[in-house]
C-alpha cells in the first residue's frame, strides 16, 4: 500500500482507540462522582452472570427430570426461537451501537473502514453477547458429560455464539432503520410480533424449523457455515450503512422537523404561573427523556395489575397503600425527583431573569397534583378487585398531593446534577445522585409502613383516615411549606448554577 504510507496499520490504530475510550470512561466526571451507581451496575451484572451459570448447569438435569420421555436436547432447541425474539426485543431497547465520538477523527489520516470495523467489532464484545456464554458453555459441558458426542456439544456451542452475534448485528440494522424513518419502536415490535404470530398460528413453524436446523448443525458441523454466512452478510450490511453515515455532513445536515405549536392557552386560568406551566408542558412533550418518562406512566397505571391479580396480595392490605402511592404518584416521583435539574440547561438564564421562585415551583406543583388526580381517576377500575383498594388509592392520592409533592420538591433543592434532555429515560442514570435514592424512603416506605402498622394495630378505617389527614394537613400548610422550600432553593442558588453548568 504505497499510497498509504502515512497511515498507521490497523492494529496500532485500534490500540489507540481503546486507550482513548479508557480515558474517556475513567476521566469523565460522571464516573468519578457516581461510584455508587457503578458498583450497583456491577452487582446487577454479576447477578445475571450467576443466574445464567445456574441455568447452564442445571437446565439439562432439570429438563430430564421434568420430561423424562423426551430428549432434553431436542426439547431445548425447540425454544431457541423464543430466546431469539426475546433477546432481540431486549437489545433493541437497551443496547446501542457503541459509537465513539468520531467527529474529531474524521479529519485525521485514519481509514474510515478502520473506524467502522472498530465500532462494529467492539459491539461484538458487548455484555449482551458475553452473557449467553455463561449459560451456553456450561450447558455444552453438561451435554458432553451426559453422553452426547463431544462434536455435537461443541458445534452446538459455536452455533449458539454465532446466533448471539447474528442477533447483535440484526438489532443494529433494525435500530438504524427505525431511527432513519423516525418510527421509534414500531419496526421492532412489528418484526418480532410478526414472527411470533406466524409461528403461533402455525403458518410457518419457526420453532420446529429452527429447532431441527440447530440439531442438524450440531450433528454435522459443516452446516455451521450457514449461520456463519448469515453473520457475514449482516456484518457487511452494517458496515455498509455505518460507512455511509461516517461523513461530517451527516452530522452537519440541517436537522429539525417542522414544529407543531400546540395551543396551551388553557393554562391561562392558572394566572401568573401560566408561562412556567406552558414551559413545563413543552419541556415534557418536546424532549426525548421527558417524553419517554411520560410514556412510562402507562406502566405506573397498570402496576397494580401485577399484584391485584394474585390472591396472595389481595390479602395483604398494607400493599394497597404502597401500590396506591406508586401508581397515583408515578409521574410525581419521576418528574419531581429531577426538579430543578430539568431546567439545568438554561438555569443561569432563569436565575438572571426577573422571576419569582415561588411561581416557578408552584407550576411544577400544579402539574404534579394534576397528574395524581388523573392517575387516580384512570385507576378507578381497580375497584373491580375490591372497594377497599379504591379507598386505599384515594387516601394514597391525598397523601401524594399533601405530603409527597412537598417532600420531593424539598429534595430537589439538593439536586446538583445536570440533565441532558435529549437522552432516553430507560436505564439512564444521568442526574441521579444519592438524593434520588434517599428521597424514596419518606416518599414510599413511610406511608406504607404507617398504613401497615395502623392497619395491623387498629384497623383499616383508621389507617385510611391517617393517610388522608396527613395529606390534608399538607394541603392546609401548602403556602407555609412553599415558603420554606423556596428559601431552600434560594440558599443553594450558586451551588446549583455552578453544578448545572458542568458537563458530566
Amino acid at each position: 500500500m504505497a499510497t498509504n504510507t502515512y497511515r498507521q496499520p490497523n492494529q496500532i490504530m485500534i490500540k489507540r482507540f481503546l486507550s482513548l475510550e479508557w480515558k474517556q470512561y475513567f476521566r469523565s466526571s460522571y464516573w468519578q462522582k457516581n461510584i455508587v451507581i457503578n458498583i450497583f451496575m456491577v452487582l446487577f451484572a454479576l447477578y445475571f452472570v450467576g443466574l445464567f451459570l445456574v441455568m447452564g448447569f442445571f437446565l439439562l438435569p432439570a429438563l430430564k427430570k421434568l420430561f423424562p420421555e423426551q430428549d432434553p436436547f431436542i426439547l431445548l432447541n425447540g425454544y431457541i426461537f423464543y430466546w431469539i425474539i426475546g433477546d432481540l426485543l431486549m437489545r433493541f431497547f437497551l443496547q446501542k451501537l457503541p459509537v465513539m465520538s468520531v467527529k474529531p477523527l474524521l479529519t485525521l489520516p485514519i481509514k474510515r473502514s478502520t473506524i467502522v470495523h472498530y465500532v462494529l467489532g467492539k459491539s461484538g464484545v458487548s455484555f449482551f453477547n458475553i452473557l449467553p456464554l455463561f449459560a451456553v458453555i456450561p450447558f455444552s459441558i453438561m451435554l458432553a458429560n451426559d453422553g452426547y458426542p463431544i462434536s455435537v456439544a461443541l458445534s452446538w456451542m459455536v452455533c449458539m455464539i454465532l446466533i448471539a452475534l447474528i442477533i447483535n448485528f440484526l438489532n443494529f440494522i433494525l435500530e438504524a432503520f427505525s431511527s432513519e424513518k423516525g418510527l421509534s419502536f414500531l419496526p421492532i415490535v412489528g418484526f418480532a410480533g410478526g414472527l411470533f404470530a406466524i409461528n403461533y398460528f402455525g403458518l410457518i413453524s419457526f420453532t420446529d424449523i429452527l429447532g431441527s436446523g440447530i440439531i442438524a448443525v450440531s450433528e454435522n458441523s459443516i452446516y455451521l457455515l450457514v449461520p456463519a454466512l448469515l453473520l457475514i452478510v449482516l456484518y457487511s450490511y452494517n458496515f455498509k450503512i455505518l460507512r455511509q453515515k461516517l461523513f461530517l455532513d451527516a452530522s452537519l445536515e440541517a436537522k429539525g422537523k417542522e414544529v407543531n405549536a400546540s395551543d396551551l392557552s388553557w393554562t391561562k386560568r392558572f394566572g401568573d404561573v401560566a408561562p412556567f406551566m406552558q414551559l413545563d408542558l413543552k419541556l415534557i412533550w418536546r424532549n426525548k427523556r421527558t417524553k419517554s418518562m411520560a410514556f412510562l406512566m402507562v406502566i405506573g397505571l397498570f402496576y397494580g395489575l401485577f399484584f391485584y391479580t394474585q390472591d396472595v396480595y389481595l390479602e395483604m392490605e398494607f400493599m394497597f397503600a404502597f401500590i396506591g402511592i406508586f401508581s397515583t404518584g408515578f409521574f410525581l416521583i419521576n418528574f419531581g425527583q429531577f426538579i430543578p435539574a430539568w431546567d439545568s440547561g438554561y438555569y443561569k438564564m432563569l436565575m438572571s431573569q426577573n422571576i419569582k421562585y415561588e411561581r416557578y415551583l408552584r407550576s411544577k406543583f400544579i402539574l404534579m397534583v394534576m397528574s395524581v388526580v388523573i392517575m387516580f381517576i384512570l385507576g378507578i377500575p381497580y375497584v373491580y378487585f375490591g372497594w377497599k383498594i379504591l379507598i386505599a388509592h384515594f387516601a394514597a392520592a391525598i397523601y401524594n398531593i399533601g405530603i409527597n409533592t412537598h417532600v420531593i420538591m424539598w429534595g430537589g433543592s439538593f439536586n446538583r446534577k445536570r440533565i441532558d434532555l435529549d437522552k432516553k429515560a430507560a436505564f439512564n442514570y444521568q442526574g441521579t445522585g444519592a438524593v434520588q435514592w434517599l428521597i424514596g424512603i419518606p416518599l414510599m416506605i413511610v406511608p406504607m409502613a404507617l398504613f401497615g402498622l395502623i392497619n395491623w394495630l387498629i384497623g383499616f378505617e383508621v389507617a385510611i383516615a391517617t393517610l388522608i389527614i396527613l395529606g390534608v394537613i399538607g394541603i392546609v400548610f401548602h403556602k407555609k411549606l412553599m415558603t420554606f422550600i423556596t428559601q431552600k432553593y434560594l440558599d443553594s442558588k450558586y451551588k446549583m448554577i455552578d453544578a448545572f453548568s458542568q458537563d458530566n
Binding site: A254, K255, G256, E258, V259, A261, A274, P275, Q278, L279, K282, L283, R286, N287, G345, Y346, Y347, K348, M349, M351, S352, Q353, N354, I355, L421, Y494, I497, D498, S501
Partner: protein, 241 residues
C-alpha cells in the same frame, strides 16, 4: 449607575478578578476587552449574581446585586447559549421572556418586528426549535431576547462572535442606538478590538483579573489597544526564547 467596589473573586485561593473601583454611568456604552482568562465573563457573572463575590460588591441603581433581586426588572443579558431554551421556537422563547418581563404578545411582536433586517428572515416563522438553529442564529435570537421589556442595563458577552459580517455591522448600529438615543447602559465584551472601539464610548482592558487600562474612545484608541496587545505578544515570545 453601576458601581463596583473592592470586588474580588477567588477560586481555591487563586484570584481571578480583582477590581478596586469601577463606575459606569447611566447611558454609557461600555466595552470590556482582554485575553482569555482575563476575567470578562467572571465580571459579567458577578454583575448578574450568578456567582458569589469573594470580597466587595457591585451595586446598580444603589441596589447591591447579591443582596436584593430588585435589579432584575431593569437588567437583561445574553451571556452564552445556555441562556436559550433549546426546545422552544424563537417566537415561543421571546414570548416566554416577555411574560417574565411583563410584556404581552403584541409588545413582543412589535419589538421583534423592528429586527427583521437583523434576523435576515432566518428566525421568525421558521417553525424550528432553537436547538436546531445554527450558532449564529441562536446568538441573534438570544441578543434580541435581551432587548425585550425596555431594560435599562443590557449585558452581552462576546456578542460579535459567530455572527456573519453583515449581522455584525447591523448589531453595532443597534447597540449604538440603544446607548445614544434610548439612554440604555450597554455592557459588551469582545475579542475584536475594532468592533468595541466602533461601538463603545469607553473601553476597559482587563488582564489577569485587574483593570490595567481605562480609555475614553477617540480616533487613536484602536491603535493604542492594538499596540498594547501586540506588546503582550512580543513580550511572551521573548519569554519563551
Amino acid at each position: 449607575m453601576i458601581n463596583t467596589k473592592e470586588l474580588s473573586k477567588a477560586y481555591k485561593g487563586t484570584t481571578v478578578l480583582n477590581i478596586n473601583t469601577l463606575d459606569i454611568p447611566k447611558g454609557q456604552s461600555f466595552g470590556l476587552v482582554g485575553n482569555n482568562g482575563a476575567g470578562k465573563t467572571t465580571y459579567f457573572s458577578l454583575l448578574l449574581d450568578l456567582i458569589k463575590p469573594t470580597t466587595g460588591n457591585i451595586t446598580t441603581n444603589d441596589i447591591i446585586v447579591d443582596k436584593s433581586e430588585d435589579w432584575k426588572p431593569f437588567t437583561s443579558s445574553f451571556i452564552d447559549e445556555s441562556f436559550l431554551i433549546g426546545y422552544l421556537t424563537p417566537e415561543e422563547y421571546f414570548y416566554f421572556i416577555g411574560d417574565l418581563r411583563g410584556q404581552n404578545k403584541a409588545d413582543v411582536d412589535a419589538l421583534t418586528a423592528q429586527f427583521e433586517d437583523f434576523f435576515n428572515g432566518e428566525i421568525i416563522g421558521k417553525k424550528k426549535y432553537l436547538r436546531d438553529l445554527s450558532k449564529g442564529n441562536q446568538k441573534k435570537a438570544g441578543i434580541v431576547a435581551a432587548l425585550i421589556g425596555n431594560p435599562e442595563v443590557i449585558i452581552l458577552d462576546e456578542p460579535f462572535a459567530n455572527l456573519d459580517p453583515t449581522t455584525q455591522i447591523r448589531l453595532k448600529q443597534i447597540l449604538k442606538d440603544l446607548a445614544e438615543k434610548q439612554g440604555v447602559t450597554v455592557l459588551v465584551s469582545s475579542h475584536d478590538l475594532m468592533h468595541v472601539t466602533d461601538v463603545c464610548e469607553r473601553i476597559v482592558v482587563l488582564e489577569k483579573g485587574e483593570v490595567i487600562k481605562d480609555l475614553e474612545t477617540n480616533p487613536t484608541t484602536l491603535k493604542e489597544l492594538e499596540a498594547h496587545f501586540a506588546s503582550g505578544a512580543i513580550a511572551t515570545s521573548e519569554e519563551e526564547e
